[in-house]
């Protein structure tokens, strides 16, 4: 099946087909609707993500994609806010609050602890894992090496560039050894060059890991480069309107003609998107 054909018959496809074999479902969102106060933010979202799949969720701002991620992460609960939820979110079969598997989170604004150096930020995850002190240093340096930041181990976040901060944040999330990694527009605050480099880094570390990734972005090129599968959310209220498998071989080239064509077709196929809502 070529990628061109795939885009030709874009419609909601059951996720199982996209990943072929019956891998266990890591994240399940079943007929999930969410109201924040009187506003309907998400409507009837259905989503099964098999283990180890890289899923990108794209949509314009206000389409509820970050809200969906926050619900999966367990940051939005019906008790803690004026949120009202229907349906369910399951991580490895459990609601987010009672999940038995580890979840890592990466935010657009890095969310590094300014009082900890790059290395100590990563060690936060190791402390959370209750790793003995003498093992933490080696382990944190291992993850720093993985994101190419060994030289900056002892710098504080305010001494790092945006791209470096996000590398640290990614390393911290990886150090927690999550089975599900949730990324909320991780490259959204970075310039185009840095973004491209980090995109490749994310792809590379993901392939080395056993992690399921839910990746929120409004950038179609990122989604096509990184994901096994792209979900398109339409805003107000947020609904899944497209579910597209990306069958390009890895490692991928963002400027490969197939990728570019797929990207173009995907953008064209997204219904009712105001021009300029997506950047490339």
């Amino acid at each position: 099946m070529s990628s061109v054909e795939l885009v030709g018959d874009l419609d909601r496809r059951p996720s199982r087909e996209t990943n072929g074999s019956a891998a266990p479902v890591a994240v399940a969102v079943n007929d999930f609707s969410l109201f924040l106060g009187p506003k309907e933010v998400l409507r009837g979202v259905d989503l099964q993500i098999p283990a180890k799949q890289f899923v990108a969720i794209i949509g314009p701002s206000g389409s509820g994609k970050s809200t969906l991620l926050n619900a999966i992460a367990g940051f939005i609960t019906s008790e803690s806010s004026d949120a009202e939820m229907r349906g369910e979110v399951l991580i490895d079969g459990s609601p987010p609050a009672e999940r038995k598997v580890r979840c890592g989170v990466v935010f657009q604004e890095y969310a590094l602890y300014p009082w900890r150096t790059a290395r100590r930020n990563i060690e936060f995850a190791l402390e959370a894992l209750r790793l003995p002190r003498d093992l933490r240093r080696d382990r944190s340096l291992h993850f720093l090496r993985q994101v190419g930041l060994t030289a900056s181990a002892d710098l504080y976040p305010h001494q790092l560039s945006g791209g470096m901060k996000q590398r640290v944040a990614i390393a911290r999330a990886l150090a927690y050894e999550p089975s599900v990694l949730l990324m909320d527009e991780p490259l959204g605050a970075l310039d185009a060059l840095t973004r491209e480099k980090l995109m490749q880094l994310i792809e590379q570390v993901w392939r080395q890991s056993e992690t399921t990734v839910v990746y929120i972005t409004h950038n179609v090129a990122e989604a096509v480069f990184l994901a096994d599968r792209v979900l398109v959310l339409k805003g107000d209220p947020g609904e899944v309107v497209l579910d597209v498998p990306i069958d390009l071989p890895r490692p991928r080239d963002p400027y490969d003609s197939k990728a570019l064509r797929l990207e173009r077709q995907l953008r064209d196929a997204i219904p009712d998107m105001p021009v300029g809502e997506f950047d490339t």
């Binding site: 989170v105 969310a111 009082w115 936060f124 959370a128 305010h158």
Partner: protein
């Protein structure tokens, strides 16, 4: 990696900046205080001599020096200063130990906020010395009364600042901890406390200023029978203007020393090193 190099090059520059800036800070404050005293002294001397004010009420600057040396030599100055500082240390330490955790907890717990918020907001605008008559009747003219007064006075700004600092923590910082199953005391120590540090430091400074006021005030109202404040009050009865002025300068100098010896290094090691600054 070019970005990494650039950042590494930036570090030594920033690292070197800290020690000299602490030193110049010292120098600046010392010069400022000295300049202020010289100016006041000069004006004072002119008024005392030219305008022909009563020497009893406007002692000349050399007379003040003489008195200061006399106070220092007799050991009186040291005794009174230590008496006041001792009370302040007890009260202030109690305030820090109670008010920092309480304020931080209030910012994270609606229950604690509802419980203590109104009380703190009620007490905050009241001059703390209105409590003196109550304390004298309850506790007598005791060390306990003075220390408690100082503790309450300084705990208010400390708690209020810690409270607002912990309320304004970036939610993402808490969510990272939450996502890694770090909760309760772990989050409190590893996230809430350092995140609120800029506000906590402001509170600690304001709290110390309040401790001074409460300590001197308590001594004025004879809750305590010695110390800088009571010596000043006693000097008023004996029209020892020179003693009053000497002690005033002593208070200023000690405040400056505490600021430079305690708060400046504390800031350099925390908020300035972290690049979070005070708001």
């Amino acid at each position: 990696m070019r970005v990494a190099d650039a950042a590494r090059r930036r570090l030594p520059a920033g690292g070197e900046q800290v020690p000299p800036s602490v030193m110049t800070d010292w120098l600046k404050s010392a010069v400022a205080l000295l300049g202020f005293l010289v100016f006041i002294g000069f004006t004072w001397q002119v008024l005392a001599k030219v305008a022909g004010f009563d020497a009893l009420l406007f002692p000349s600057v050399p007379a003040l020096f003489e008195r200061f040396i006399e106070l220092a030599k007799s050991g009186e100055l040291l005794d009174e200063t230590l008496a006041t500082l001792g009370r302040m240390a007890l009260g202030y330490a109690a305030a820090v130990v109670v008010a920092v955790p309480l304020g931080l907890a209030m910012g994270r717990s609606p229950l604690l906020q509802d419980l203590f918020g109104p009380v703190i907001n009620l007490l905050l605008p009241i001059p703390i010395l209105v409590l003196v008559p109550l304390f004298i009747l309850w506790l007598g003219l005791t060390l306990r009364a003075a220390v408690l007064l100082i503790a309450i006075a300084s705990s208010l700004p400390i708690a209020v600042n810690a409270w607002s600092g912990s309320q304004r923590i970036e939610p993402r910082l808490l969510r990272v901890a939450q996502s890694m199953d770090v909760h309760g005391l772990g989050t409190f120590v590893k996230v809430v406390l350092p995140a609120a540090m800029p506000s906590i430091l402001i509170g600690l400074r304001q709290g110390l200023a309040m401790a001074w006021r409460a300590a001197i005030g308590a001594e004025f109202f004879s809750v305590a029978s010695n110390g800088i404040g009571s010596r000043m009050f006693q000097a008023k009865d004996y029209v020892q203007m020179d003693v009053i002025l000497c002690l005033l300068v002593v208070i200023m100098v000690i405040s400056m020393i505490i600021d430079k010896l305690v708060f400046a290094p504390l800031e350099a090691r925390t908020v300035r090193r972290w690049g979070v600054g005070e708001r």
